[in-house]
Point group: C2
Chain length 203, copies 2
């Protein structure tokens, strides 16, 4: 006896992801998602019960992806400066491939902070930051870098990588860049941001 068709479910999820990332929860319409999926709107309810349920699944997938990506890099066994270079490079490449995703996460997260707060309450900081924190503290102890918490260093790295992506229209507008020039700039930032950070912390 065939359970619900996984393929249809996946098609709907992909469509929902696209529409939600573009328009956000408040701005997305079930009919638009149905159109994107190439199915009847009632089918969305058959598989996912409600708009909010569908959204929750999509949001959870994006958040999960973000955190596993982050934790993965932070946990790598690399010298600190090389790790910073790698984080920055991977972050910028990844964000270049997922244009709407950071703004989507940030905005939805701000619309409903409790969701993310509750979710993260269940995850010990150490799971994300543990290895990185040890590494940063060891470098400080060795006198190789200035005193800074792993926390602040991570916030700064992510700030420098992510913000220019979500501020894209403003950056392009202020500096009169077309899309091509903007993307070239972001590629250049891969090494520039890493150097900026390393120069900021190295003794």
């Amino acid at each position: 006896m065939k359970k619900k068709d996984k393929n249809t479910e996946q098609v709907i999820l992909l469509a929902a992801r696209k529409v939600f990332i573009e328009k956000g929860l408040a701005g997305s319409r079930m009919q638009d998602i149905a159109n994107q999926a190439g199915h009847n709107k009632a089918l969305l309810h058959y598989y996912f019960t409600s708009k909010n349920k569908l959204f929750d699944i999509v949001f959870e997938q994006e958040i999960g992806s973000f955190f596993s990506h982050l934790a993965g890099i932070l946990a790598e066994e690399l010298p600190l400066f090389e790790k910073i270079e790698k984080i920055v490079s991977l972050d910028i490449d990844r964000l270049t491939q997922l244009p709407g995703m950071p703004n989507f996460i940030i905005n939805e997260m701000n619309q409903n902070p409790d969701v993310i707060l509750k979710r993260l309450k269940k995850i010990p900081v150490e799971m994300i930051l543990g290895n990185f924190q040890k590494q940063v503290n060891a470098e400080i102890k060795m006198g190789a870098i200035r005193k800074i918490t792993a926390q602040q260093l991570l916030i700064n790295i992510q700030s420098l990588c992510i913000f220019p992506f979500i501020a894209r229209p403003m950056v392009r507008g202020i500096f009169q860049m077309d899309e091509k020039a903007y993307l070239a700039m972001m590629q250049k930032r891969k090494t520039e941001v890493a150097a900026f950070i390393i120069n900021a912390i190295k003794v």
Copy 2:
């Protein structure tokens, strides 16, 4: 003959600003704005014709405020390092007082990039960046700081100041901070971020 009542207009605009900043354009309802203003919904149409017209005015006010604030600081006659310290300090204080504003601007800007791109097309870069750029270039020439464009320096400063505010729920969640701890951290960042940046660029 009395023209339209400026006070009612202002009351509506303030209400609209509050609701739009909290919910965004797509998530805001004219009835909610009317409730917030303490007036009948039809009055919003009498004064502002449509939801979109009302939004445009509010958005323009917020954007105008953002840019005049930015240009003001950048134009100040201060030594570069002191200017950086001041920018960071004022940014963080300002963002602390306007919790929802950055996410509002960023999200709406991403929903409709053309609006901001068109608006900024009319503003020469030099108006915002001119003095700052000259200053940065002079410091480079003197060998006081590393080579960096004023553009990238400004992006980095704003990244480090703004992003932790819009990423608030995530930062709080990852690092298990309550609101008080988060605000204390942001206050501490006033000097830490400035030092980070200065250390990043000084020779």
